[in-house]
């Protein structure tokens, strides 16, 4: 019994693919472009093309397709919630009316669009974390934000905070998992009883977890201070990022594809 499958949280999956080896800046910008592209899609056929693109990137990243799909699991509830809101609250031609609940054709269409968009959004975004080490990701963001440093933007501090937060997600999941097991061994059960009972059953997990989190935060702060950490000024890197030809090529390819898809979408729609 495994309570959290860490892979579902978009954790980095090591592999030696082309996508893995790209510069993080290239991947961040590409993902932003892809996400923007998804939000202007209006035609079902183009949605299918986006699906094909998703498959292609998965193949290029040498990731099992199931694993990528699973990374959308945590947001499935959000997707369903959004879709149902659109189903019930969109004005238009009524298809079905039961009491005050009215389902319209436009509502169904909107629900499908928004649901798919959100789903694609998460799936494409998950490529970033699936194929990029958290450290690289933070490095990439820091470099992308570095032009704003002169206006007082704390690029390094933000990147550091993000690294730490990302770094501790798997650790805390492990920790939670361990505490849950320990309480299960003492007869606790997390999957029985009503909502209130289940929430109460989580107290024996949450309290030790909080204790551990604060301890860890303090340990980390002391360890950083002991090594004279004082932010980004004058700090050099062990592995400086370098933008290669393949990064330019990949970014170019993504831009072209997205522009083509968007234009295609407009053509089909109007």
């Amino acid at each position: 019994m495994k309570f959290f499958n860490h892979l579902t949280f978009g954790q980095y999956v090591p592999s030696e693919s082309l996508v893995h080896s790209l510069d993080p800046r290239c991947k961040i910008i590409s993902v932003l472009v892809l996400l923007t592209g998804i939000f202007v899609v209006k035609h079902p056929a183009v949605f299918a093309l986006w699906g094909v693109l998703l498959g292609c990137i998965t193949a290029a990243a040498r990731l099992p397709f199931r694993l990528v799909l699973r990374s959308a699991k945590p947001v499935l509830i959000l997707v369903l919630f959004t879709a149902s809101i659109h189903i019930f609250f969109t004005e238009g031609d009524p298809l079905l009316q039961v009491g005050f609940i009215r389902i319209t054709r436009q509502g169904l269409v909107m629900a499908a669009y928004m649901g798919l968009r959100l789903l694609f959004l998460v799936l494409f975004a998950s490529f970033l974390t699936l194929t990029t080490r958290p450290m690289e990701l933070a490095d990439g963001l820091e470099r992308l934000f570095s032009p704003f440093v002169r206006f007082g933007f704390p690029a390094h501090e933000l990147a550091m905070m993000m690294t730490i937060a990302l770094r501790f997600i798997p650790t805390l999941l492990d920790e939670t998992d361990r505490i849950m097991r320990a309480q299960l061994a003492r007869g606790a059960s997390f999957d029985r009883g009503g909502l209130w009972k289940r929430l109460k059953a989580f107290l024996p997990v949450l309290i030790p977890l909080f204790v551990i989190v604060f301890q860890r935060a303090e340990d980390l702060a002391v360890a950083m201070e002991a090594r004279c950490y004082r932010g980004g000024a004058g700090r050099t890197r062990m592995y400086p990022l370098c933008w290669e030809k393949k990064d330019t090529a990949a970014l170019g390819a993504v831009l072209t594809l997205v522009v083509l898809l968007v234009i295609g979408d407009r053509r089909l729609f109007f």
């Binding site: 892979l7 999956v13 097991r181 061994a185 003492r186 007869g187 030790p208 551990i212």
Partner: protein, 278 residues
């Protein structure tokens, strides 16, 4: 009345790039009233093994039997098995949560549905067994000292009145006095008929107290024998990361130099062989 594993195997993250085989082909059996130790280096699969014995992990290959009940998914006996087999995790003090030590120790029996009027008795017994002072009852478990926290955590498992007690590195981070206290507690529990399974990397303790020892290396079974036989095996085929006790190393070195002494981990035994009875 025993815990038995037959060709037990377990793989983490099967079918993903992170797939790792944690256990393979492990077989052993130990009875109530005996002390069984699982020794191995970090990452040898000891902790994974421990969690199979009360159904926190379910066997992917082979079987585990507790008093004739098989540990498997959705088996109705799973709760019963968890009650029978108490599991003390590594650093068990990290799982403390209650407002008072009393509530902490009463957590398990309440979960098992023990009537409220019997709980004070259970708590008292568990505290006595674990060697915890009575005046701790009303205190917060977070205000106890390190050693007391460990005792409270062990008491909170003992209060289920388990038939078997599985402990994962219970002596880690304890000073030598607390360590001695803990081992003598385990010896006492064994004499009262409890089956003890100790997961450890410390051969000293394993050899000293066990009735039988299982040595793991990289998830596979190296040897499962009585302490003396295990020592002989490890002396002939060292396992990386498992250090023989100093006395055992000394006696082995003396034997190599041609001294007529037995291979042993007991100072008394070596001393007698070297200097005769007083």
């Amino acid at each position: 009345m025993s815990i038995k594993a037959v060709n037990l195997g377990h793989t983490y993250h099967p079918g993903t790039p992170l797939e790792t085989c944690a256990l393979k082909n492990i077989s052993f059996e130990f009875d109530r009233g005996t002390w069984f130790s699982v020794a191995g280096h970090t990452g040898s699969g000891k902790s994974t093994l421990a969690q199979h014995l009360n159904g926190l992990l379910l066997p992917m290959e082979g079987q585990v039997w507790v008093d004739g009940m098989e540990v498997k998914e959705k088996s109705r006996s799973l709760q019963e098995i968890r009650r029978k087999v108490g599991l003390v995790f590594q650093y068990p003090e990290q799982q403390l949560f209650a407002e008072t030590v009393y509530d902490e120790i009463a957590f398990a029996p309440r979960n098992w549905g023990v009537p409220e009027n019997e709980i004070p008795q259970r708590v008292n017994l568990a505290m006595e067994q674990a060697g915890l002072e009575k005046n701790c009852l009303k205190r917060s478990p977070f205000n106890l000292s390190g050693g007391e926290k460990r005792k409270a955590a062990i008491a909170s498992v003992l209060s289920s009145v388990p038939d078997y007690l599985v402990l994962d590195e219970p002596t880690a981070g304890l000073d030598s006095y607390s360590r001695k206290e803990l081992t003598s507690l385990l010896v006492r529990l064994r004499s009262e008929g409890m089956g003890i399974l100790l997961v450890t990397h410390d051969l000293d303790i394993a050899l000293q107290f066990s009735d039988s020892i299982l040595v793991l290396q990289g998830g596979t079974q190296v040897v499962w024998k009585k302490p003396q036989a295990v020592l002989e095996h490890l002396q002939a085929n060292p396992v990386p990361g498992l250090k023989l006790p100093d006395i055992a190393q000394l006696s082995a070195a003396l034997r190599e130099k041609g001294k007529n002494v037995p291979l042993t981990w007991q100072w008394k035994c070596l001393k007698t062989a070297l200097f005769g009875e007083k």
